[in-house]
Structure formats: C-alpha cells, structure tokens
Symmetry: C2
Subunit: 105 residues, 2 copies
C-alpha cells in the first residue's frame, strides 16, 4: 500500500462464500475493487482467500468509509452478496494506531 | 471469531514470502498459531494467503499485543522470518471502532 497518512483507518472484511454463482461473484468483486480504488480517501487494499477471504481497505477518514459503504453501485452488489454469494461475513472498522514494515534488501 | 469485547484491537499482518524453506515456514507458522491462541487476551484469528498473505489477530488490549510480540519463542521465529522467509511484511495495530456481521439463515 502507499499514500499512507500518520493516522488512517482500516476496514477488515472477512467472508465465507456459499459457492453459488462464483463467476458472477468474481466479476463483481473485480469491478468493486476498481471502483473502490477511485473513491476519495482511498489509500490502498490487500486481499487474499483461503478457507476464509480477507480484504483490508485503507482510508483517510470515517467519512470516506461511509461514502464508499453507501455508494449506489456498491450497495446493489452488497445486496446480491447477502442474497447469493456470502455464507457469512464480518466487517470491522478500525483506527490504525501503529504501523511498521519490513522490506528485504 | 468469538469472545468479542465491545472495544478490542486488531493486528493486521500482511506478508510476501521469498519462497525459501517453505516447509519450515509452514511448520513454524502452525506452531505460532497454536502458541498465539494460548496467550492472555487473545480473542481470535483469521488467515488467508493468495499473492499476499493476510493474518488478522484480535486482542483485548495493547498490553496483550506487546506481550505476544515480545514472547521469546515468537521473537526467535520473527528473526528467522526476516532472515529467510519474508520478502516483505507490514504490521498495523488497530483499535476496532465498529463491528458488524452477517450469517445466512
């Protein structure tokens, strides 16, 4: 991730899929990833899936998170998620208090 | 995850592996997962790996996080991680301010 600010927010989204309409899910997930990255206050995103899927998005402010949560295209995909794709999910909105990194030389 | 408290902490650990000594890495990762879950203040853990690995651990307090970070067995594995297994990693210590879930009926 990049464009980091001294204080910023993380939204941790963990999910288990039903396995229904998986191609449709993947197409929409990719679309949402692109759209999310265009929103004001977006700082970066990490995503991985094993038994559980984890996506962490980083934002400048709570207002930016709320804007993205209530974005019309995002809301309609959220509804499909609840109806079709997700067995369960969990959202945590967090203030990042400390941040450190290692990169091999 | 379970045993959630109204206010709790998340440690987001994202990493890229070198691919060196991967079996040794996996053995140690499993051992650390077990040991971590036995620490005071541990509330839960989610883990997934695709191109990037993401592990999120949940804790009751910053003191619990610091205890685990400085646990002797954990420290010696951290050192091996820097020397051998990790291309890069990133640690974020976060206060969870909001939390909501969906489970399909």
């Amino acid at each position: 991730m990049n464009k980091l600010q001294p204080l910023f927010y993380a939204v941790i989204f963990t999910s288990k899929l039903t396995g229904v309409a998986i191609e449709d899910y993947e197409r929409n997930a990719a679309k949402m990833e692109d759209l999310c990255a265009q929103q004001p206050g977006f700082l970066g995103m990490d995503s991985a899936r094993s038994e559980v899927g984890i996506t962490v998005c980083y934002w400048q402010s709570l207002a930016d998170i709320e804007n993205w949560r209530s974005h019309l295209d995002h809301k309609s995909v959220q509804e499909k998620g609840i109806e079709i794709w997700y067995e369960s999910y969990d959202v945590k909105v967090c203030l990042v208090e400390k941040h450190y990194s290692f990169v091999k030389n």
